[in-house]
């Protein structure tokens, strides 16, 4: 699609307020537009608000439509967290998402860099081969992965959950695009200074694509944090569940105690909501950067 420089421009433009061309006088249509947009936005977050509010309600109150609980209680949270399972699933999810993200970002950057900056026979073949794996859906691979995990004893292990995602073709492609913007002169100068190729990649090239690395990291982390079908297949024991898989089991168990299910759902959602509220601009920028290259 568009080249890297353009993407940067549009990603930056998103941060700024809308351009001046629209700063006409406040006519009624503009006010109506604002009200409708704001109303729609509130409607968008209302489901999440109801989830949080219900998690603070007593069982007899969940039938009540009001957003604010009459007598807010943290009892649901105390009950859900009591047996420590949610804590365990949270830690599992965090460990898996962090390791996978670090691994994928490093390897994707290394491969993207190699395919972008080195000249060697077979470069195009390797690139096309990696790119072609983007066409293969995860769902087609889960059965062979399951058989592989079963044969190697990877079922019910962290590694079993992580191994399919330690490198991504999407990230490789993204990083290759971004390394195009690193001038070869810089790399050549470092070569003359006596740095070896690994040092040039790590100390010269990598710092120049930091925004792209961050964007990729956000995308991969979010993908792993919410991943469901593969962790569901590869784990059997509750000690190894990730948060989404644990939440499914927990909710099925509770069946009709919706205030407890909402509490579980809230526990799975609150961490990413906090991260989003803190790094909002940064995350939206990253998603645009990564998204436009996908």
């Amino acid at each position: 699609m568009a080249n890297t420089a353009e993407i940067k421009v549009t990603a930056d433009a998103l941060d700024k307020a809308a351009p001046k061309r629209h700063a006409r006088k406040q006519d009624p249509a503009a006010i109506l537009r604002w009200i409708l947009l704001m109303g729609g936005g509130i409607l968008m977050v209302l489901p999440i608000v109801y989830m949080l509010s219900t998690s603070l309600k007593w069982p007899h109150e969940i039938y009540n439509l009001s957003i604010f609980p009459d007598e807010p209680t943290l009892d649901n949270y105390a009950y859900v967290l009591e047996d420590g399972r949610f804590y365990m699933w949270f830690v599992n999810s965090l460990i898996i998402a962090v390791i996978t993200t670090v691994s994928a970002v490093l390897f994707d950057a290394l491969v993207g860099y190699t395919l972008c900056k080195f000249e060697f026979r077979g470069r195009l073949i390797v690139f096309v081969a990696i790119l072609s794996t983007l066409m293969i859906p995860t769902e087609m691979l889960v059965i062979p992965w399951y058989l592989m995990a079963k044969n190697f004893g990877w079922l019910d292990t962290y590694w079993g959950i992580m191994f399919p995602g330690i490198m991504t073709a999407f990230g490789t492609f993204l990083m290759k695009q971004f390394f195009e913007s690193v001038p070869n002169d810089f790399l050549e100068a470092a070569r003359i200074d006596g740095l070896n190729e690994f040092q040039i990649w790590w100390r010269v090239a990598m710092p120049m694509v930091k925004p792209a690395l961050a964007a990729l990291a956000i995308f991969i982390f979010l993908g792993n944090w919410t991943a469901f079908i593969w962790p569901l297949i590869v784990t059997n024991s509750p000690e190894l569940y990730t948060l989404p898989v644990g939440l499914t089991t927990f909710s099925v168990e509770q069946s009709v105690q919706w205030e407890l299910i909402m509490t579980g759902a809230a526990l799975a959602t609150i961490p990413t909501l906090i991260v989003f509220l803190v790094f909002q601009r940064f995350i939206i920028r990253g998603v645009v950067m990564a998204g436009l290259k996908g």
Binding site: L14, A18, M44, P47, I130, L141, P164
Partner: protein, 297 residues
């Protein structure tokens, strides 16, 4: 090391390149290409995980195409796509188009629309499942009841269950599409609009003749991305119908759920592999259609 020291700079680079690529090449061969071939091979075999893998020719495919459940599932999968993609694209374009012209609290409004994108589909599936419960539990039916409307059979009706499951998927994806559309809108040079305005062209014509044609790459990108997403829908269905997966009466079952059940409930691995190959072909067709549409660019 003396061997390395005698190489020219070019040759050293080749050594480094293949060193950097060695682990990744191993990964892509073992974790991507081999499993792909394995899935295709398995689709021509019969295997229940315990006994031997035996060749079955095209039996699995023949069985699949003769299976009324498959055609039901096939239809469902495309209803998810044909309903989800247009609805989510029109909604997100409308929001992006207008939000682009708003300055007051622009960032806040954008964040409100984007927030659901940050949630996990599983948590949101359970949240919406609660909304859809009958009176007196579900939020929607309670709200309807409070204005005197009899309860609506969201998840229990064979007609309405599928759109009800689709709704949270559309809702959660909207924020992403909105910001991609807004990036696309910002990339259109201002001079086009100025020229049109000088020529006295109305806003409606500007939208149809300038904005939408110039947004074509963005639109195609989002159509393909959301199509692939809806064709692969699973998390929402699995969690919202966990008491009767894909129900009522298979009316919400998508292809991925059928694959999951065939492989991991019935352990009919060959049959499941054949289903994944069908999914692969469908997704490939969608991607190739994108390349075809974009070729004149």
């Amino acid at each position: 090391m003396s061997f390395y020291a005698n190489l020219t700079i070019k040759q050293k680079q080749v050594v480094w390149a293949w060193t950097f690529l060695s682990l990744p090449i191993l990964f892509y061969c073992v974790i991507r290409f081999y499993p792909t071939l394995n899935a295709i091979t398995l689709s021509f075999q019969e295997w229940n995980l315990l006994g031997d893998r035996t060749w079955a020719g095209v039996d699995n495919y023949a069985k699949l195409f003769a299976d009324p459940v498959f055609w039901k599932v096939f239809k469902n999968t495309f209803i998810y796509l044909l309903l989800g993609t247009p609805v989510s694209l029109v909604l997100s374009f409308l929001v992006a188009y207008h939000l682009d012209k708003v300055r007051f609290m622009h960032g806040t409004i954008r964040a409100l629309y984007f927030l659901p994108f940050m949630t996990s589909a599983v948590a949101m599936a359970w949240l919406w499942r609660w909304f859809y419960q009958p009176v007196p539990i579900g939020l929607f039916n309670n709200a309807l009841a409070s204005v005197g409307i009899p309860q609506f059979p969201f998840l229990s009706s064979t007609t309405w269950a599928l759109p009800s499951i689709l709704a949270p998927a559309v809702w959660a994806g909207l924020g992403f599409q909105i910001i991609i559309f807004m990036a696309g809108l910002r990339a259109i040079p201002q001079t086009y609009y100025e020229a049109a305005r000088i020529d006295g062209v109305g806003p409606w014509t500007i939208l149809w003749r300038i904005t939408l044609p110039l947004l074509k790459p963005t639109i195609v990108f989002l159509v393909v991305l959301s199509s692939i997403g809806f064709l692969r829908i699973f998390d929402q269905v699995f969690n919202m119908t966990s008491n009767n997966p894909g129900g009522p009466l298979n009316s919400t079952k998508p292809l991925v759920l059928m694959i999951y059940e065939t492989a991991f409930d019935s352990f009919d691995m060959g049959y499941a592999a054949a289903q994944t190959v069908v999914l692969f072909v469908i997704l490939l067709a969608v991607s190739l259609a994108q390349l075809y549409i974009m070729r004149d660019k």
